[in-house]
Symmetry: C2
Amino acid sequence: MKTFSDNQLGRYPVYLRLFKELLEEGTLVVSSPYLAAKLGYSEELIRKDLQAVCRESGRPRKGRSVIDTIADLEQFLGYSKPETAILVGAGNLGGALLRFPGFAQHGLNIDAAFDASYALSGKQIAGKNVYSMAVLPGYIKERGIKIAVLTVPGDAAQEVADTLVKAGIEAIWNFAPLTLDVPSDVTVENIDLASSLAVLCHRMQEKRGKNHG
Amino acid sequence: MKTFSDNQLGRYPVYLRLFKELLEEGTLVVSSPYLAAKLGYSEELIRKDLQAVCRESGRPRKGRSVIDTIADLEQFLGYSKPETAILVGAGNLGGALLRFPGFAQHGLNIDAAFDASYALSGKQIAGKNVYSMAVLPGYIKERGIKIAVLTVPGDAAQEVADTLVKAGIEAIWNFAPLTLDVPSDVTVENIDLASSLAVLCHRMQEKRGKNHG
DNA sequence: TAGATTGTTAATCGATTAACAATC
DNA sequence: TAGATTGTTAATCGATTAACAATC
């Protein structure tokens, strides 16, 4: 079976976004050199990526069907059958994610939120119920939830992750700034702002050195 | 000169975080096998990474000095001399980032925010002034700001990026869901939630197939 | 047709891992 | 000393790029 690297997987939503934009503009066929110029990837890379997930092949001298490719990308990314998720930690960042309307279109339905604060539990954020941590394991088990978005403070994250795993969670989207320790059959994907920032600053310094150093 | 891949650069803040935790626990020397078990990287990779940025070498049979390594990592990551940045788009996500206290310790001082909404400009968020978009170019030029955090909606992001570039910004930390088109001397680092989510879901499905498929 | 773009096959490049002598 | 861990050098692995015949 074809395997995909993290980088490659991450490019598919980028393609999908651009293809949807192209469709709105009325573009029905698009070539890899065009996509390459637009996205900053090489055209060979783009051809390889799309070949791996599209059923139809592109037409020489024309390119790929925008409509067909969108369908194939959505199929591949699982946007056609969204997963139900919960969010734990409805503070600043968690609240922002709950208010973000885009996840449903990206295959993720955030069903409910959980927070340790008594001030929040019983309330709603963006139309979603916020429950106390006490009911978290029961909620996960009862509904068979498999994905959790983890937006609690770093010092609480490992403990919450343990609870999630014990309750049957299979995947954790971790926004907390630490490396979670979970069993190998649980998937963790980190949004690590410190890492991203380090890359940004280092690349900027590099260019500075090149231009006027 | 030694070059660093994005992945490698992104690991340094992960090391730093763990080393600081170890220091708090009173651990003064740490070995690569220990770090490997804790972080899920191979021990060889960890040795290579740390060798690239540490002045002292590790001691056979012991490991590396936690204190020295923290100093070297902070030096390498530039946390000792923080960069001043601005944030554009003080909505849900932007607000959450402004309220996040951690950036100062990660080499980034967010100085001020800008937002198109008249309701926000003139207000403060987390003690930081929010200004109208009209004064953005002047602010950047006057203060020589080089880094911008971009948290505006996707349909406004390219236009704002153009403004930032024209005003002299050298690096954009882009949270908007699109591929920005900027000159090659401007650094862009994307926090792409859709990409991260795609990786999470795909890896989860893989494990599912392996275990009961 | 001519020529742009495709998919495929081979080459390159770089990151990670393996092997191992050096060390305290 | 013995043995765990180090840093270095070589091998592997995988992703990206290059080359090119096929195609409309």
